[in-house]
Symmetry: D3
Subunit: 328 residues, 6 copies
């Protein structure tokens, strides 16, 4: 079945101690599922788009739990590569509070997705009829074969006429800036839309500018990108941030509202921005994408877990300048 | 047994997902009991007044749970009308965070109270010896027969020399502004004290003014009310508000302190204001009522559930300008 | 997309106090989703069959939660009829212990499914390519229009060459034995396989025999059924039962192993028997159906919630006479 | 207000680790309220009798919590002696499993009730119109002044024509068998009904017999008691017991059914037997008292906490030989 | 085994209702262990110092739980005085929110430590090889014999060449300002480093100044102290504070950074400041002590419970001006 | 510091869904720590013996959590080898119920202990003064270098005059029976006491007999062992077992009582038997070791987690034939 959007990458089981306990204090761990590309697929499904997430998972209770959660949130797992080898990646999340940042302890080595390799996934069949393909810089950072498979996917998608987006998503715990830069640059020819932060542009591509606008423009020019979107976070405190984004296209910069946030869980916020952006672009409307991307991801900050359990009505209400009183 | 205060209305079982989860994410629901008039009866019991709450409940575990909670908080349920018919009302509460408001999903149709009708409750006996009767605009909004019973109650109370108060409490999910306006206006002749917000005055009676004071005065004049109290909330964020109230009597407006609030749960705040106000008025002291009403309801914002589990000592400590250090 | 099995009926949100608390003691409620026909669809999906569940749900967070849980467990909800009317059914479950039985408090009146009516669901399209259709006596018991829709569904299925099964599932809280008998008897002409208990045969059809075998045979003869399966529970205690089933076909009675059970949650056990039975019959093997039905449902008793979260490997291990030691 | 039954004694906050954790493993403690005489008052309220519990409590959140729970369960606390002195008693309960018994760690020294003394409680006023007064051997075991107050209460009750019952309830952690024997014997002249176990008769009074019947008769003869009731527990395992009781009156021994029990929480079982017994005796029917006492307390074993959250309907269903299937 | 630091005092089991519930609403209580001197010993162990905590505990599950938690956090309990007498102290903690302060209800009377007396603890042996001894004003406030034992300990330590620190820690619920002043003044001759707040200097010693600096200097001069450290808290709200400290030595005042805090749990913050201060002073570096004391205790505010579960790396990261983004 | 007993092996973080949920249903996981040799060290510490556990752990929050738990339970971690490499092993535990066995999903590959190699641990220093060394067949099964290190440890211990015990503990998920047999046989020359089950004797060494006695004797003869102990479990159900053990020495077989068990958590039962056995043998009393081993491990079955949180008094009470009534 063709989908509006297909994404490709790892998802892990996320384990976090409740009530601000530190990991050393944990006597129970809350279970969520998260992974950048899955999060974006969920964000799109929740906005009403059909989406599928492609990955490789070990067929044990942990792997099935991940696929179950994807389906629960409306994402198809029909293209999953199941294996009896390898393991399921985990990450441990500790919530901080000013002056202590939240922190993440990855335990993702030897996960099944790291052994994915070109030829393993039937990209041509998956891309047939699909409108959009999305991936982030995490997937190629997992292993050399995952990087090759990412390239294979992007090439196949572009050749099939699918639009593509890449979120840089640099992870220092996965690879060096140099390695990331070399690899990501090779993917850019098959990328229509680049999504990133100012910081990641600097770290991965060494691109910076006097403003977000200039940084976006430089990236667009260097890699001949159609669109560059940059999310902007102001975080004077752990639990109170301000959040917006800009988007560059054809020398023009589009803006949208900035949101004051009382944060519940900021994991997956960038991924839900990508979902909103793609949602608008599927309608051929970049301003809508920027508006929906920022509004949807502003809402994501208020929701536990990596997934953005919003509805289109709720995003629209925020876009209209929603009321903070209880509706009754 | 005669009571200082009798209130009349619905209480529901309140179900809310813990830890800011959305309802779709809920794997457990916290159970509380709430209802505007019960909340006010609880607020009065906690301030040392004897109070009874009159309602109609289905005699099953859910109905008994509601009555149990009322008694636990010090409120008499001896005048409860028990029935084996109908069902127990529920409401689902989802806590939000900026920019997402908290929201309420009512599932209260066909609750036992909606079938209450004139003649079912022995108002004359209940009013004998009682000092104060309180009801809100929710009760008449439940059904035509509940509206008729509310009118019957207010009339019987007034004729028995009981003082009366009405909190407008407009609920758009129950009835239209037009219907509410028509019905509430019919109740005003038997109302001594009107409690409301500026917004509800506008929505129900189409009354507004250049200031809270003017709005209160207009309402007082139109309905020949002795006292009109208006609560004032400033909510730039979901979890940080400012809170105060004014009270109009005989052309004069009384004021009290404004409180900065770190909110834990704002449900029932207005109802606990009513409790404090009535508490003062039972002593014949409107300024005390305003002071205690705002201080008690400021404290309510810091307490989970709809009930205001404070003590008179705690209200007095806040009135004296309490210290935020831990007392030890 | 055609499915191996389609089922039709109500699912409710199930709310149960943890740790054997009574409802009056509940301060939190565990959330599960359950409904006889959904449970069977889940059971089939877990055994590897493609299945879809057809129902009508109110499009609010509670309705979406039900559909999410169905998809999480592998069941398609693509044929769901979404509405903005009516409400979502609930049931409250209290776990007992000898000498107190577990008990259920339904709050399902006015649920969206009760308003389903013929013509609302595109049965012909749904049946195209489908191999099996399953429904229980609960669905027609919900309302007259639901009964008519059930009949419409069975007729359409039979005419489309789909095999059908009906689980009698008598619910005294829904309708009288007389009403149930009259209605269910009208459905029998379109039923291939009847699944029931000896007790329900007696209550609904007034059929009894000196043995399970005789009762099955009488039912088969009266309604010209191909197969009659009867589950047999021996429950001297609430948390320790013995469990098996028999199946009649063409005058012959098939048997399978009896299981000793340490029960964790017996809700949905009969529905998971139906799933296993249909699983075998889809392979044309009644003995396999009986074996898998009883083994799968024996396992169901050890799993919290209404859904049978087993794998085919686990059912096979039990069928081979599984070991109770921890495998490591 | 006169009550059917008044009881007098201590209640404590009960703290128990969930999920069979040992106290050293506890990271949270479940909170319940319990105390022999309060438990009996609750048992009577739940069976439909009006009951009040008299005690002395420190007026802090812990003391109020105890009174709140009493009222929640339907027991009046209007005769509570509130004090700002002393402390609130606690007990820590650890659930065992064969071969480890459940165990109790008391932290009840210096609780407010231990300082109760004659003259502090207006017994004459309380007894006016009351039908029954109940106390156990725990109250006099708390302190010499509590023992004197118990005697004062029993005397006043008897002189006011109130019927009285005493449950021996020997607590080795409170006092020696010798001290208990001397004290309890002094109370017997004012006792109509003695409730106990064979073991306590031996420990407190040195009374034993070749059978329960003989032991009961010897106690009745020694103290000239109208009725002696003995509960009988067979506990080969921690979580599976058998339970019944006998009652001696005028040389005759009455019996009732023995119950097989799957235990959830056996604390308060004896106290709920006393409630059922008194319930029957208030109707002048000892056989009813014995039947209801054993049936109600059999149900108590299946309910968490010390209180017996049953309904009269449920007791009657068990008396009729209730079904263990789920009623639906 | 000699330790870097030995501390002496009481630790209690801390019981707090979760999720901002009031004690009257508590149905479960979270269990932590806390006590000023134990908290400081934990703070030191977590910074890499060997530390032992000396106390007297009842040998029951609650007493063992306290010792277990001390060892879990890296503190030696080898010098514990175990007894079968007395009881284990408890304290109940209720988390507030503006305008309601958090509050503490102590239930510590008759704890084993209150019966400690001179000669009971082998101070000379404990001090041999130890570098630092720390105690607070809580220990002498527990009882006269505890005060005498505190004096004995300080004297023995000083005579053995151990450096000493005293945190004033005035507890109004334990003793009057006059009693505290008289007692603490007697301890000053054996104190090298005084740790306190401006408020406690005033309450215990009647010392105040126009500035923190002046107050510190006056205290230093009056008691001939080497070092006086004062912590400074600005708390306009319950959950948002600013936090720093100063240290006076030889007429000079040292300062360090002020931290903005999002508070999770402020109990034990002062104790963790003492740990950081001593940590620096063991290196002979007061500025390091002040820097580490304030940074470590700033982090403590973000951690549930009384213990400061940080690592030296985390303190250093904050000292370097840590980033609030999630590190990944 | 010399210890009574030193053990060597892996401990993992154990994650299990609460309330019998399956892993796929888990929304939270309970955290415990377990590992055969650590469990035995804990068992000995709880019986009053000084014990240390030697292992290799990654120095992150998860590794520290494991060491913290060891110390909490009284076990020294001073000989821990900390590393910044590798990862911390995990295992997921799912509790079953008849007819579904509990199951374990290991995620222990690449844990720090697997990279331990000869020369890394200062065995000679550790063994100096130590009385007993214990290891199980899991440690050599982790990797070739771990096997070599195990051999190094046993040899060093024997040469230092330390008594040694080995628990066969065959884990099919770690290695084949052939590999285990070859490796374990090489360790036998340095083993004084072999602890095992009949099943493991067969699987690892191919030894079986007509009785437990004969199997023990054959093992003793083949490897010239002083003592062979065999634990015997009868498990007709998952939650009800019978449990005992025998011990062979010098041609004689000692026996002890068999216990009826209501199981709460059987993980670590065998390890706690080893602890009790060694406890007796440290007193030179094999019968005591057998009695204490079986009694202590019978109690272990009633305690959540892998650790045996008993006291010597509790073991003695069971040995004397403890009462199942609540002691009060």
């Amino acid at each position: 079945m063709p989908y509006d959007v297909v994404t490709f990458g790892e998802a892990m089981i996320r384990l976090s101690p409740p009530n601000f306990r530190r990991l050393e204090q944990a006597r129970s761990l809350d279970v969520q599922v998260g992974g950048a590309e899955l999060n974006t697929a969920v964000g799109l499904a929740r906005l009403g788009r059909s989406s599928a997430w492609v990955s490789r998972l070990t067929n044990n209770p942990l792997g099935r739990l991940i696929a179950n959660h994807a389906r629960e949130a409306g994402v198809s797992t029909e293209h999953m590569i199941w294996t009896s080898d390898d393991r399921v990646g985990l990450y441990f999340l500790e919530f901080g509070a000013t002056p202590r940042a939240s922190s993440v302890l990855y335990d993702r080595k030897n996960a099944a997705i790291a052994s994915v390799r070109p030829g393993m996934i039937p990209w041509a069949a998956i891309c047939a009829g699909t409108k959009w393909f999305h991936v982030t810089g995490i997937t190629p950072g997992l292993s050399a074969s995952a990087a090759a498979t990412t390239k294979e996917a992007l090439q196949t998608a572009k050749e099939a006429g699918v639009q593509t987006s890449v979120d840089l998503n640099y992870r220092a715990k996965l690879w060096s800036q140099t390695d990331a830069g070399r690899c990501m640059q090779e993917l850019m020819p098959w990328c229509d839309v680049l999504i990133t932060t100012e910081e990641d542009l600097e770290r991965v591509f060494g691109i910076h500018g006097k403003s977000y606008d200039e940084a976006a423009e430089r990236a667009a020019h260097r890699f001949k990108l159609k669109i560059v979107a940059i999310t902007v976070r102001d975080n004077p405190l752990v639990w109170r941030n301000r959040w917006t984004a800009i988007a560059w296209r054809d020398g023009q910069v589009l803006r949208t509202r900035e949101y004051e946030l009382e944060i519940v869980d900021r994991l997956g916020a960038g991924d839900s921005f990508a979902a909103g952006l793609i949602h608008g672009l599927l309608d051929g409307d970049l301003q809508k994408g920027l508006d929906w991307g920022v509004a949807a991801s502003a809402l994501k900050h208020t929701i536990p877990g990596d997934f953005n359990w919003v509805t289109p009505d709720e995003v629209q209400a925020v876009l209209k300048g929603g009321e903070l009183r209880i509706s009754r």
